[in-house]
Amino acid sequence: MKITVDIIVNGELCREEVEVQTTLLEFLRGTLHLTGTKEGCGLGDCGTCIVLLDGKPVNSCLVLAADAHGREVTTIEGLAEDGRLHPVQQSFIDNGAVQCGFCTPAMILTAKALLENKPDPGEGEIKQALGGILCRCGSYRKILKSVQAAAKEAR
């Protein structure tokens, strides 16, 4: 069964016809060819598929594209503006928070959303906010440091 969805992705309205069982993740990666959002497990356990839906981090592998109809989605591709990196992106580079990079988009987006909500988060709050994203390279400490540095920089 096909449906038409209107989803605002990184500020641009995307109207596409998709099978109803298409997840938001498949819509982003398969229909729109935005491969920055990753699929590490497809079952909501790893967090690498996290995007911002109306500003809130969600596991896009568990959201039907139909449920994003009329809503705003931010992916990692939507953060930099005209070649200028978002402060969180820059902080990740500056603080050595990137190794294999597979969890990086999800970590950055979730950190961005956290800082917009809580500009001065404590270590425990950062750990909890990012606790749903697995990083097998074990960059957790430097990711934590990057978020703290970005928060400090913004103040």
Partner: protein, 773 residues
């Protein structure tokens, strides 16, 4: 000579791949899209051991979107770097739950998966074995009764009537005499569990077969594309040049992406899709259950010590689980058995290692290559002995540890040995001598330490090519994949310094076996040293030729010229011209490029000399590491929390200190996760916990404070001569350090990994019962 004032080597250079990764622009294996691409998936055996009686693929062939259905009979090849025992798709038999038996290529992944459900397979179950200790007994059901018919690249022979496929023995001195001289003999059994690498990027590959020339191109997230394309070519009976491997960014490997997994399915399918590429992306369940795991190991250690703590003898017997097919497990078993003595002088040794086939998931390399398992045994027993003898854990290690000039078990004289420095540094940082106050009667804290050594595969080869374009840009052609450990960055730093250009002028494209020359692979913690030295040579050669040309252009004495940061400098004269201008002159204002090549191998280096016939065990460098940890144990629930880790690593020279920290912190966390949370729950060979919900990895909330201590050679030493490796050692020392800290906290010994709360609680209760409470 790379001076210590080098602009980039030794500095905290930002990762050159980070910008692509933070913007979502980095392309991984899972992201590749090619024109006409099909999607493939594999049907897998539900049985651990069975004959395939019949298969009916007719309904699948007719399913919507299906372009090819392939079985083992259509593609009856075997692959395997060491022993060619593994079919691309099972031919007449399946040997583990998950063994692929057929594959479908369709227009969409969903169509391929739907078509798989239409394939009918008739199996006849066979008796199966799951525990290598049972599988090694005579009369056990044989996993590979036709072993002798397989092509073998290593000396491997089955012990008749058993599943033991590789046996390795090593003796030194006279163990019986050594035990006779001992004041105490300790005999303990330990086990280390199978583990998944659990890279966040699932296994993925794209294969394209071009019918016109019978060639394969494979996009594979491999850590060893040069050896792997040969492995594939050999399996198919093709000349090596007919197989090309292109490597995208790799979303983590840790030793798990070095053979044909998604590649095997994709290649088999691509043969039948008339030139259309086929992409295969494994599900998380497939990556967890049907690729490769760490070798489970069962270790018996009998050690003789004098009452002052010095070793006299060690006998070790290790039984390793090879799983159903042979990957590089023999190398792992070998490395493990030769390092179960730890970084210690033990004059009398009797070491036996047996690798055994079972009907379980194939096992193979895992960060540490055997050292994680044996270090567990060695270092837990170390503390058992220290406790019994009444010797401090720090002291017993310091007194036995190798020092500069000691001979390894094969007679190689070890140089650049800083084992004791790492022991002292880690102990100091964690304040091992000082106890930790317990927050409450039911929350008890303790500290523990463990030390380890690892060699690097020796000798291995690295080749590279450098190109300098007319605009002064340097390109490094290297087959070293960026698997996440910062390979590209280190290569760029070294190239920039060696040629004399700004880092921003250097680019390191991804490997492509048609273009980038041979390299042994990103493994064994070898890349910085081997590929680094290789690039350094190529860079210096390029610089020399550029300066020679410059001396003509500038009418200057070439010995007075240097190239630095893209400028030709003359001693006493400052900047004379830019590299760009020089090249414009060389190419008369038109386009052009200069090439240089590099080759590095430690083969023939006199430091490798050893006793007759044992040179193969020598290592071009020895890595030492010590971890000291502080834990807290909840005595009511058995939960162990790691509070702090001090990780001291003898790395020789940090080419990029941030990169070193990334690797140390990363493998400490891997070590914590492996030790406290990870294990496979199996039922007759079937892995039950095939999701990240139930195969649990450490999250950010589990991370303790980590202090990385880099122990380096003196400043007089040339960087690339002193540099060692960093990728693996940290993975090994964490587990036993945690176990030793738990003992320090609550007085219980865990000998079998993982250290789970229920095990701890049961041990605590047993201890209480013994006390008569």
């Amino acid at each position: 000579m790379l001076q210590n004032g080098s602009p980039y080597v030794g500095k905290r250079v930002l990762r050159v791949d980070a910008p692509a990764k933070v913007t979502g622009n980095a392309v991984y294996g899972v992201d590749i899209e090619l024109p006409g691409m099909l999607h493939g998936a594999a049907l897998r055996s539900p049985h651990p051991h069975a004959k395939i009686i019949a298969m009916d693929t007719s309904a699948a062939l007719k399913a919507p979107g299906v372009r090819a259905v392939v079985t083992g009979r259509d593609f009856p090849y075997l692959f395997g770097d060491m022993v060619r025992d593994q079919p691309f798709l099972a031919i007449d038999r399946v040997r583990f739950v998950g063994d692929p038996v057929a594959a479908v290529a369709a227009e969409t992944e969903a169509q391929a998966l739907e078509a798989l459900e239409k394939i009918r397979v008739q199996y006849e179950e066979l008796p199966a074995v799951f525990d290598p200790r049972e599988a090694m007994a005579e009369g056990a059901p044989l996993v590979h009764p036709d072993f002798d018919t397989y092509h073998r690249n290593i000396p491997a022979s089955m012990v008749p009537g058993t599943n033991i496929c590789v046996t390795r023995k090593f003796s030194l001195g006279d163990v019986e005499k050594g035990f006779a001289e001992a004041d105490e003999i300790f005999s303990d059994t330990f086990s280390a569990q199978a583990l998944s690498h659990a890279a966040m990027e699932p296994h993925a590959a794209v294969a394209r077969y071009t019918p016109l020339d019978g060639c394969y191109t494979v996009w594979s997230a491999s850590d060893r594309p040069q050896r792997l394309h040969k492995e594939l070519a050999d399996a198919l009976g093709l000349e090596h040049t007919r197989v090309r491997f292109i490597v995208p960014y790799v979303g983590g490997s840790y030793g798990g992406k070095n053979t044909l997994r998604a590649e095997a399915v994709a290649v088999a399918l691509s043969r039948f899709t008339h030139g259309r590429p086929v992409k295969v992306v494994f599900s998380r369940a497939e990556s967890l259950t049907a690729t490769q795991t760490r070798l489970a190991a069962y270790m018996q250690l009998t050690t003789g010590v004098k009452k002052d703590g010095l070793f006299t003898a060690r006998r070790a017997e290790i039984v390793w689980d090879n799983g159903a097919y042979m990957s590089n497990a023999p190398g792992v078993a070998n490395r493990g058995v030769l390092t179960i003595l730890g970084p210690y002088r033990i004059p009398n040794l009797d070491l036996v290692s047996r690798l055994v086939y079972t009907n379980q998931e194939t096992t193979g390399s895992y960060r540490g290559f055997g050292t994680t398992q044996v270090t567990w045994a060695c270092e837990v027993q170390m503390d058992i002995m220290a406790a019994k003898l009444g010797i401090d854990p720090l002291a017993i290690r310091l007194m036995n540890a190798y020092v500069e000039g000691d001979a390894y078990i094969n007679g190689q004289i070890m140089r650049d040995v800083r084992a004791r420095e790492t022991i002292a540094a880690a102990g100091r940082e964690i304040k091992l001598e000082t106890g930790s106050p317990n927050p409450s009667p039911t929350r008890r804290r303790g500290k523990g330490i463990a030390t380890m050594l690892k060699s690097t595969a020796t000798p291995t080869d690295s080749f590279c090519t450098l190109k300098v374009d007319v605009d002064g840009k340097v390109t490094v052609f290297s087959s070293s994949s960026e698997i996440g450990a910062g390979e590209k960055t280190v290569m760029a730093q070294i190239a920039a310094d060696a040629v004399g250009v700004p880092l921003a002028a250097v680019s390191v494209p991804n490997p492509d076996t048609a273009i980038t020359p041979y390299d042994h692979g990103v493994s064994s913690s070898r890349t910085t040293f081997h590929m680094g030295n290789c690039i350094h040579r190529a860079g210096r050669d390029m610089q020399r030729r550029l300066l020679e040309f410059a001396s003509g252009v500038l009418a200057a004495d070439p010995s007075r010229l240097t190239l630095s940061d893209g400028y030709i400098l003359e001693a006493g004269g400052g900047r004379r011209m830019t590299l760009k201008d020089l090249l414009a002159k060389k190419f008369n204002g038109k386009s052009g490029a200069m090439f240089s090549e590099g080759h590095f191998t430690p083969a023939g280096n006199p430091v490798l000399e050893a006793r007759e016939g044992l040179k193969g065990i020598s290592s071009i460098f020895w890595m030492f590491a010590t971890h000291a940890v502080e834990v807290e144990v909840d005595t009511e629930t058995g939960v162990v929390q790691v509070l702090k880790v001090a990780a001291a690593h003898d790395i020789g020279r940090a080419i990029n200190p941030t990169g070193c920290e990334q690797q140390i912190e990363g493998s400490v966390i891997l070590g914590i996760s492996n030790t406290l949370f990870e294990e496979f729950k199996t039922e007759r060979g079937r892995i039950l916990n095939d999701t990240f919900s139930d195969y649990k990895l450490a999250t950010m909330e589990d991370v303790p404070g980590i202090v990385s201590i880099l122990v380096e050679a003196g400043p007089d030493r040339e960087a690339l001569a002193a540099a060692k490796g960093i990728g693996e050692p940290a993975a090994a020392a964490t587990a036993p350090a945690i176990a030793n800290a738990v003992y320090n906290a609550v007085g219980i010994r865990i000998r079998d990994l993982p250290i789970t709360p229920d095990k701890v609680l049961a041990a605590l209760q047993q201890k209480d019962n013994q006390k008569g409470h």
